[in-house]
Amino acid sequence: MPGGGRGIICPEGRRAGASVGGPGRACMDRVADEVLVRRVASGDEEALSNLYDRYAGLVYGTGKRLLGDRETAEELVQDVFTSVWRNSADFDPARAHFATWLYRITRNRATDQVRRRNARVRVVGREPLLERGEADPSGTLSRRFDVAAALSRLSPVHREILVLAYFRGLTQREISERTNMPLGTVKSRTTAALRALRKTMSIDGDRRPVDD
């Protein structure tokens, strides 16, 4: 599993003992992204850390695919979240979801990095890799951010079950053992969670666009 169980979910080891949807200041708190950004704007580092837990994995993975190497992708993550910290006061939830805003920052920063790299590459006579506006011609990257946002909006119970299945790669039986839930309940909750995600994605899709 590429995510290794981390990313938009709690990175293992950082939140020892904080089960998904469990007690404590887990990154699975149901605080909406938009509320966290507002807190970031007022200087709340914990809120930034929470957003980082939710989205850094996606930004990093996106960076690796767009930029091609791990080091530059790490720089992109730092760049993007520094930008979130500095510009959080400018974020307007009436215009776009946080994920959409974050996606735009990611795309623009990645494009900037590619342009810088291309400028260096041209010196040795190679073709440019990517220009502004070409970062996501098919909309695939944008869609991933939307799915991440939809996942972050699910109830802790639903999110937990999907995270365990998709990001930690557990089978239904393993989820049952890990959560002490009967196997039948795990199966029906998995169905309910996928249904809720589908519904949330539809709602998000309907209200999306001023800004995208």
Binding site: L48, G57, L58
Partner: protein, 147 residues
């Protein structure tokens, strides 16, 4: 619970390919007959594919924000905030002293006496300091403040 409901509850693991063969066959048989469940399965499959795609893309970077550039940005903003608070406290402290001095001036200067005070640091304004003195200069009151 009806069989329809039972099988409907298995649609999630079904689209994920997580059912055992026996259950899988039962669900497939049901889907051939039930249009509602086929439609439901189609929606769940879309969610499943989107999640797979997201999971495939998501990787966690090795560093936390406080470790590098974001941490530097945070520290910078904190420093700015601390500096602003200290400056405000110092300014308020000096303002109070000046006002207090101005009120006392008539009494202090009435007899031609000089008054002075030393500004001392406080917990909130550890860098504050200075000296204020009040005296008579050719019939006018002279207030001297060094902060």
């Amino acid at each position: 619970m009806t069989e329809h409901q039972e099988l409907r509850n298995l649609l999630g693991p079904y689209v994920m390919g997580s059912l055992e063969a026996r259950e899988d066959r039962k669900v497939e048989g049901h889907l051939r007959e039930c249009a509602r469940c086929r439609e439901e399965a189609s929606g769940l499959r879309l969610a499943h594919e989107r999640l797979l795609d997201l999971a495939y893309t998501t990787e966690f970077p090795p560093l936390k924000p406080e470790d590098r550039a974001v941490g530097a940005a945070i520290s910078h903003r904190q420093r700015l905030r601390r500096t602003a608070v200290r400056a405000a406290v110092t300014a308020a402290f000096v303002f109070v002293l000046v006002v207090f001095g101005a009120i006392l001036v008539p009494d202090l200067s009435g007899g031609g006496a000089l008054a002075s005070a030393t500004l001392t640091p406080t917990d909130l304004a550890p860098d504050a300091g200075g000296h204020i003195s009040i005296g008579d200069a050719n019939g006018n009151t002279e207030v001297s403040l060094k902060a």
